[in-house]
Amino acid sequence: MSASTAAAARYEPVIGLEVHVELGTRTKMFCGCPTVFGAEPNTQVCPVCLGLPGSLPVANKAAIEATIRIGLALNCQIASWCRFARKNYFYPDMPKNFQISQYDEPLCTDGWLDIDVDGEVVRVGIERVHLEEDTGKTLHVGGATGRIHGATESLVDYNRAGIPLVEIVTKPVPGTGALAPVVARAYVAQLRELVRSLGVSDVRMEQGSMRCDVNTSLHRPDEPWGTRTETKNVNSLRSVERAVRAEMARQARVLAAGGTVTQETRHFHEDTGDTTSGRSKETATDYRYFPEPDLVPLAPDPQWVQTLRAGLPEPPRTRHRQLQVHWGLSDLDMQAIVNAGAVELIEATVAAGATPDAARKWWLQELSRQANEAGVELTALEVSPVSVAELQRLVDDGKLTDKLARTVLAGVVAGEGTPVEVMAARGLEVVSDEAALGAAVDAAIAANPEVAQRIRDGKVAAAGVLVGAVLRSTGGQADAKAVRELVLARLC
């Protein structure tokens, strides 16, 4: 039993998620600077996003529409009137010394998202969806690791400062017990699919265009909810699940020892899977929010909202159900694919010629295992759907056994080339040459006369010994079934 499962046996977890999505607009939230990822430092900035005196922000219509569409897709109410707010804080990631955000008047409120977990539907309430601007990127130097601890100075690139950022906040999610870590992951995976389907963001967690904060608390079943912690830096699906597990286990240890959980920000560490205490959070009053005087209020016209609603695409859940039927997969298999973030990978693999079941098997078993071992997301592996389909074709053509195919796949992931190239370079092709295989079988019979005799006497099960010998002598590159047939043909 894992530590988080043990924690759930004694305490009820309540989780909550704050997800930030960087919108894929051409320009920033309040100025016309481009938003190209990976541009040279400080080349996509202007007086507005630098907060130079006299500059004035003007809101990006495309960003407002994208936020309303996200809100509508999450079954939210769209505010008929709302304002931006100034969040004041002292940190160099915003040159203005404040961030334009929304505070008590978010654009979208009170929605929900139904997610599929472990064969059940969990309805996650959405508290709010609001729009703000992203901050600059800070590089801490002088320390050993680039982290803030031990750093002596910070270098700041403001290209990201001002890019529209949507914050999606769930209501607290109680009652999920030991499944809480899986529910958290499934929510983020399915929210990502939803946002992607709207075409408003590329939602790439590894590039930071989707980022997560995870709130976790524990309480005894008959007591009020416990104090929650907010874990930051949770930037992959895998980490979302691990972070909730780690916090449940840690808080259970604290509570079991008679201690109290401190309300604080914690940092998640990919390498150890642990969380550590972060900076003490300034309280909301310390941010001294007030209505942004440089931006007039937003009052979305009901007609405009209706037009946006009419333009929403089919929800991913509907599409997933169609794919599931089309692919002939079980509910659990399909949910595993969705929650691994692998729908597109499987789709592309099937399009490249693999059967849905083969595609599912390679991605969710062998490749998921390799991704886990490497500590990365499935999508980050250096293997394309086309390669996976090619690999399966080699298996179907009898050129590779499943075992050899796994070895070839490891070579592909290691960057050695396409499956055909790896198979050729490593000499892994199944020995299908009848003459060569026949010679190996004859040699095995000659080397094991007693076994051969027993088979002649009708002990067919003894054939395994000879099959094993042939597989060894061919370096595992013979197909066991074919070898067995050859052995029996010679002796029976």
């Binding site: 400080n42 900035v45 130097v141 690139d157 007039v296």
Partner: protein, 99 residues
């Protein structure tokens, strides 16, 4: 009673990372108090039929199209930086007091 305490002024100074002497705290607390008391008088005339006002112009939905505009050349961007390294703004490490 004062509208703002000396301790509140000290807290605000800390949030803005301003070094303020004890004498300055006394001065600013007094000055801010006068300002706040004056502003508070506005509240005395507020009635139910006067909605809180955050903007003086009756406008909503001032939006721009998502069209790229020219940025500043990087040398102009960094000209305002206190110090520069690797084409970035170079600033002292923040958060040291919170670690």
């Amino acid at each position: 009673m004062a509208a703002i305490s000396r301790a509140e002024v000290a807290h605000l100074a800390h949030l803005a990372r301003l070094a303020v002497t004890d004498e300055e705290l006394d001065t600013f607390a007094g000055q801010l108090d006068v300002i706040l008391q004056s502003v508070a008088r506005v509240g005395e005339v507020a009635a139910d039929d006067i909605p809180p006002t955050s903007h003086s112009v009756p406008l909503t939905n001032v939006l721009r199209e998502d069209v790229v505009q020219p940025c500043l050349p990087r040398e102009d961007v960094l000209a305002g930086a206190p110090d520069v390294a690797e084409d970035r703004f170079r600033v002292p490490r923040i958060l040291d007091e919170e670690e």
